[in-house]
């Protein structure tokens, strides 16, 4: 096997962080490849409208942003590989990255930008009724519940944004939240509170999703009174946060308790030559604006590392 690294830098993950790392690496003259298992944009492609990414005063769809980021990375020579990285093996002054297709990539440094995936509630009925009324994508599946009653679980930005979207299609949207106030941005809260079709079930934890061939309701328990009830719904959309996709690098780099990759200010992980950027990293704020900033730093830091090898 050829011991020479075919790439200088491999970026694992093709969301905003990964595409930006590819862009900076390409511009810096590195031979860079971005490995993405599904589609450019990652989770962002699933966001109907992004209103807080600077430079787009009217907002931009997640899909459009992803397309633009990919085109920009490609313009500077980053290669886009549709495949899944299944591991990382450190070698002297390089890494090998085996792919699901059985191909093996080799590079001098890595940027892990694998992002995060929607958290499951982990309650009975959730897995059994997936695709039968349980959904993690309102823009994808909302149309199946036109004129019907649905529930949204969660109280963050995604939950409230999607509740507002669903209220445009469904007769009634109940937001089930385990606290007595929302974490979502003030502007989103306002939109939700003044929408007549959206109601709120506060201080409720979900104990099960009910139904057999399709969802019929969400079983909840009041955290104060302990009273158990079923909120009728033919669809339930779950937005209870995200878990980091750190498994590919998990055994090589330091993780926090929740599985996020721990980095220093230069996005360096505990393993020399491996950098991390975006939602997979331990940090306070998980926004696209932050992810692309991480990625610019990670790519430049990786370039310094490569030049000093």
């Amino acid at each position: 096997m050829n011991r020479q690294a075919a790439h200088d830098l491999i970026v694992i993950g093709g969301g905003p962080a990964g595409l930006t790392a590819g862009l900076y690496a390409g511009r810096g003259g590195l031979r860079a490849a971005i490995v993405e298992k599904l589609m450019p944009g990652g989770l962002v492609a699933n966001t109907e409208r992004i209103d807080n990414y600077p430079g787009f005063p009217e907002g931009i769809s997640g899909y459009d942003l992803a397309q633009r980021l990919q085109a920009q990375a490609a313009r500077f020579g980053a290669e886009f590989i549709s495949d899944e990285a299944v591991g990382i093996t450190p070698e002297p002054k390089s890494f090998t990255v085996p792919l699901a297709s059985k191909k093996v990539l080799r590079a001098k440094a890595l940027v892990i930008a694998t992002g995060a995936f929607p958290k499951k509630l982990g309650v009975p009925g959730e897995r059994e009724l997936l695709g039968k009324g349980v959904s993690y994508c309102a823009v994808c599946d909302g149309a199946f519940f036109r004129g019907q009653e649905v529930a949204v679980v969660g109280g963050g930005d995604s939950a409230i944004q999607e509740a507002v979207y669903l209220a445009g299609l469904c007769s009634k949207v109940t937001v089930v939240h385990r606290r007595s106030s929302l974490r979502a941005a003030e502007s989103l809260q306002k939109l939700a509170f003044r929408n007549e079709r959206i109601s709120f079930a506060w201080d409720k934890s979900v104990s099960a999703i009910e139904g057999s061939s399709g969802v019929t309701g969400v079983r909840v328990m009041d955290k104060g009174t302990g009273v158990d009830e079923v909120i009728p719904a033919s669809g339930v959309f779950i937005y209870v946060g995200y878990s980091p996709n750190s498994a590919v690098a998990g055994s090589l780099v330091k993780l926090d308790e929740a599985g996020h990759i721990v980095t220093d200010d230069n996005m360096a992980t505990s393993h020399p030559g491996i950098y991390a950027a975006g939602d997979v990293r331990r940090k306070l704020v998980r926004q696209i604006a932050g992810a692309v900033g991480d990625a610019a730093t990670a790519a430049v830091a990786a370039q310094h590392y490569i030049e000093n090898l």
Binding site: Y63, S82, A100, G131, S135, C140, G142
Partner: protein
């Protein structure tokens, strides 16, 4: 009213100019009554076809032009058959709008070239098939993940003469959505026997195709 922005139209002209090889025919099946999305689908095709002299649009009436409908196996409308040097079995049932417009553009290019960007491993799987495989990918036009499954299905059809692949817009064909229990997309039905919820990577898709091919 033009559906495509000037900027996008220009990009498509360039892309088709660079990538199209052999001529491609879009065989469009429509009717005047009881087809809410036939008109909008026609508008999309009428804007797309003139962007390259390699693309021709043929419009057939689903009721009156029975011979053509049978030739391409069309059983519901609106329908678009993307035909290249041969019929690879690439079909779009329902409007190719939203994210699926990108699927249509990509499939026109693949059909024109008679080859795709699938990996060698995937092509090997497709070569090993010995029985016909039909893939139906249920989508909604607002589903960002659906496109990746439609692409894989259509690419498989272009690479293998045994594979036919249909995009099916779920909300336009509720009886099919009901028959296959579609309440979430993408949902991929292979040979009526196997189904796959959600978007999966290429190697997983090929594995399911291989398994479904064996069960016949």
């Amino acid at each position: 009213m033009a559906l495509l922005k000037d900027e996008d139209r220009q990009k498509l002209v360039e892309e088709f100019g660079q990538k199209l090889a052999s001529p491609v025919k879009l065989a469009f099946f429509t009717q005047n009554l009881d087809c809410m999305y036939c008109g909008p689908t026609e508008m999309i095709l009428k804007e797309l076809a003139p962007l390259s002299d390699k693309i021709t649009l043929e419009t057939w009436n689903f009721v009156n032009d029975k011979t053509q409908a049978e030739l391409y196996g069309i059983d519901k409308i609106p329908a678009v058959a993307v035909i290249g040097a041969k019929d690879h079995g690439v079909r779009f049932y329902g409007i190719p709008a939203g994210y699926e417009f990108a699927s249509l553009v990509a499939s026109i290019i693949d059909v024109s070239r008679g080859e795709t960007g699938l990996s060698q491993e995937s092509k090997d799987v497709l070569m090993s098939l010995s029985k016909p495989v039909n893939i139906q990918v249920f989508v909604t036009p607002t589903c960002p993940y659906c496109q990746s499954m439609v692409r894989l299905a259509h690419q498989a059809a272009v690479e293998s003469d045994l594979v036919t692949a249909h995009m099916v817009e779920s909300t336009e064909f509720p009886h099919l959505a009901q028959r296959y229990g579609v309440m979430g997309v993408p949902k991929t039905v292979i040979n009526e026997t196997a189904s796959l919820d959600g978007a999966v990577p290429e190697h997983v898709f090929m594995h399911h195709l291989q398994e479904a091919g064996k069960q016949l």
